[in-house]
């Protein structure tokens, strides 16, 4: 059983929801990213989504764009991201790690090399924002023998035949983008999310995560009630940016924010 599968199955038997925080690798530094990952798990994260910085993050709002820019200014590259995961794995063998990024850095490295390095580092899943199922047949073939899940996004505009196809090819879990917009947007509608998740559930038994627009414990709780997992990105990355010059403060803020989300999710019961 893969780490992702094991994680969701354990949560399910405890009647709990998965908390999936997103941080950008290399922001504020490579060392701090590893530290933050441990802090996230200690505060209650079940899965970690690690952003791979890209110069042109078309699907991201300003908060994650800037995190990506900061990481690139520090010289963060794809090999550094693998090193972060390797380093994290020396102390944590169980928490699933998902890399989230854009296709071009993978194309440049070559599918085979990228996937091999990811597998060796201990990566469990990949979200490639600009690689829809229509373009990913070749990549899927490369992934298969390595047991890494390609996690697909579903959005409010995903309908009909496309929704069926995505449910067929997906593995790990499905990530529902709660609204039309970029990461960090504002107007999440829980009722609309619930309706769409029910539609998706009629087509797949995979766990369903929801992200984009989850910024506080109340929203997390509301979304947690209708989903299997919540993803929190911009609200967390914003806290990291805000305390960039005070590492201790940053760590305590991150820890208490994730803790508050954990408590909110656990109150669902």
């Amino acid at each position: 059983m893969s780490r992702i599968e094991a994680c969701f199955s354990a949560l399910k038997s405890n009647n709990k929801k998965a908390l999936i925080p997103f941080i950008t690798a290399g922001d504020p530094s490579l060392e701090m990213t590893v530290e933050l990952m441990h802090i996230l798990t200690a505060a209650g994260a079940d899965i970690i989504e690690l952003g791979v910085p890209f110069s042109d993050p078309m699907a991201d709002g300003p908060v994650i764009q800037r995190a990506s820019e900061r990481a690139l200014i520090h010289g963060t590259n794809t090999d550094d991201v693998f090193n972060i995961v390797t380093e994290f794995r020396t102390k944590n063998e169980s928490t699933p790690i998902i890399l989230m990024g854009y296709l071009n850095p993978i194309e440049v490295m070559g599918y085979e090399t990228f996937v091999e390095k990811a597998a060796n580092a201990g990566v469990d899943g990949l979200i490639i924002v600009d690689l829809p199922p229509e373009e990913s047949a070749e990549f899927a073939e490369v992934l298969k023998p390595h047991g890494i899940d390609q996690i697909f996004l579903i959005s409010p505009t995903t309908q009909g035949e496309r929704l069926n196809r995505i449910c067929e090819v997906a593995s790990g879990f499905l990530y529902y983008v709660s609204l039309k917009g970029v990461t960090g947007s504002n107007q999440l509608d829980v009722k609309a999310v619930d309706d769409k998740l029910n539609e998706i559930r009629s087509k797949t038994s995979l766990p369903l995560g929801v992200g984009f627009g989850i910024k506080d414990p109340q929203i997390a709780e509301n979304v947690g009630r209708v989903s299997d997992a919540v993803v929190v990105g911009s609200a967390l990355v914003e806290r990291i940016a805000e305390h960039a010059d005070n590492g201790e403060k940053m760590k305590s803020e991150v820890s208490s924010f994730i803790g508050s989300l954990r408590t909110a999710l656990d109150s669902i019961g």
Partner: protein, 412 residues
């Protein structure tokens, strides 16, 4: 469409005019690499485009507007004095600079705005570098009574104050993009972000033959009028097809517009001219087909300027319209198949051609088009006197007067 007077040689291999395939691929290039939220809207756009592009009513309205609003057909002008001075081939200029708003860009914005209207979209958005596509979009938005928002890099807003004011006069909102390198590529990212957020009522008018399918094909089809006209005009005026075509390539919309009707005329040599900036060897250029490698950006696979880890790197050209790290996927495919040749000229060479055409023919060309002219002036002397080159004079140079003056240390 004009009939062919002279049969082209298609016996050697199959047609070059059948691309893209059903999934929007030009060989291994093109495609649709976007976030999930845009996949549905792109399918909807593709359906509308395919439905209308061959519909008689749509074609009639498009052609009516091209004739009466844009001022087409644009002349094919025999630059006799310049040809004589160069001492070789006869040079014909396709005068896209004489179109309304001063460049080929309006062909595409008229087409897309008509499509937007038929799709019931009341709001159009665009990205722009130098401002030419932004102006062309703001222009058609004014004419069709649509709300218009143009994204432009903060750096470009500084450099192109006149075009920014033109867009505002036309009623558009110009949004300054502060992200990344603050230039065209970042404006495109930001326009995509707007589109993904407002996709229900918004039509994104992309200005070049890049982006996710169907944009590269659609923008080409709206600009292909350039080559259709030029081909017939050349047959009418010179009695034969040209020996060579030359056009500048940034994203490549004016170039593909000229080239497309000639792709199966295999005796016609095709040259796309990229911006070598300060020289390819300096790294300060905008020539992905000459010095880049394939990758994925802005929704399509194509040649890109990138570092060893796939991060997009900054480009340089004296011409803002060529200052883009990618290129339309059809050009990538034409390069790999060998049907077209992609060459480059430097800032200095383009400036020389700018002055030459201005002094010898009394036509002030855009700096973008000056790249095509510079390459034309390199090959013309080596060709026979009865040979014919068609160079695409894709835009007029008024917008570049400040840049040229500044380069020569003159304050206006």
């Amino acid at each position: 469409m004009p009939e062919t007077n002279k049969k082209s040689d298609t016996s050697e291999s199959e047609s070059y005019m059948t691309m893209p395939d059903k999934r929007g691929h030009f060989g291994t290039y093109g495609g649709r690499f976007v976030s999930e939220t845009l996949m549905g809207p792109l399918e909807e756009l593709e359906k509308a485009y395919k439905k209308y592009i061959n519909a008689p009513d749509f074609i009639a309205e498009f052609e009516h507007d091209l004739k009466h609003y844009v001022g087409r057909p644009s002349p094919l002008y025999h630059a006799e004095r310049w040809s004589e001075q160069l001492g070789g081939a006869q040079i014909y200029l396709k005068r896209e600079d004489l179109n309304h708003t001063g460049a080929h860009k309006i062909n595409n914005t008229v087409g897309q705005a008509l499509l937007a209207r038929l799709m019931g979209k009341r709001r159009v958005i665009a990205e722009t570098g130098a401002g030419q596509h932004g102006v062309a979009t703001a222009t058609v938005a004014a004419r069709y009574g649509m709300e218009c928002v143009v994204y432009m890099g903060a750096e470009d807003i500084q450099r192109q104050a006149m075009n920014v004011f033109r867009m505002k006069l036309l009623g558009a909102t110009v949004v300054s993009v502060e992200a990344g390198s603050k230039t065209l590529k970042d404006a495109l990212n930001e326009a995509m972000r707007d589109w993904v957020t407002n996709v229900d009522d918004t039509f994104y008018i992309i200005g070049t033959v890049a982006g996710p399918h169907p944009y590269p094909a659609m923008v080409r089809d709206f600009n292909a009028v350039v080559g259709r006209e030029a081909r017939q005009q050349c047959l009418d005026q010179a009695g034969c097809l040209p020996d060579a075509l030359v056009a500048c390539v940034g994203g490549g919309s004016n170039a593909i517009g000229l080239f497309h009707s000639f792709l199966d005329d295999k005796e016609v040599s095709i040259y796309g001219v990229e911006a070598a900036g300060e020289g390819i060897e300096t790294g300060h250029h905008a020539a992905p087909l000459n010095a880049g490698k394939p990758g994925v950006l802005h929704g399509n696979r194509t040649y890109l300027m990138e570092d060893e880890y796939g991060q997009i790197i900054e480009t340089h050209s004296i011409s803002a319209g060529l200052d883009y790290p990618g290129v339309g996927p059809e050009h990538a495919w034409l390069k790999d198949t060998g049907r077209a040749n992609y060459v480059s000229v430097t800032d200095i060479e383009a400036l020389q051609a700018f002055h030459d055409l201005t002094r010898i023919e009394g036509i002030i060309p855009a700096l973008e088009s000056s790249h095509a002219l510079a390459y034309t002036s390199k090959i013309a002397p080596k060709m026979a006197k009865d040979a014919i080159i068609i160079a695409n004079l894709s835009g007029r140079g008024d917008k570049d007067i400040h840049t040229v003056a500044a380069h020569e240390g003159i304050t206006l």
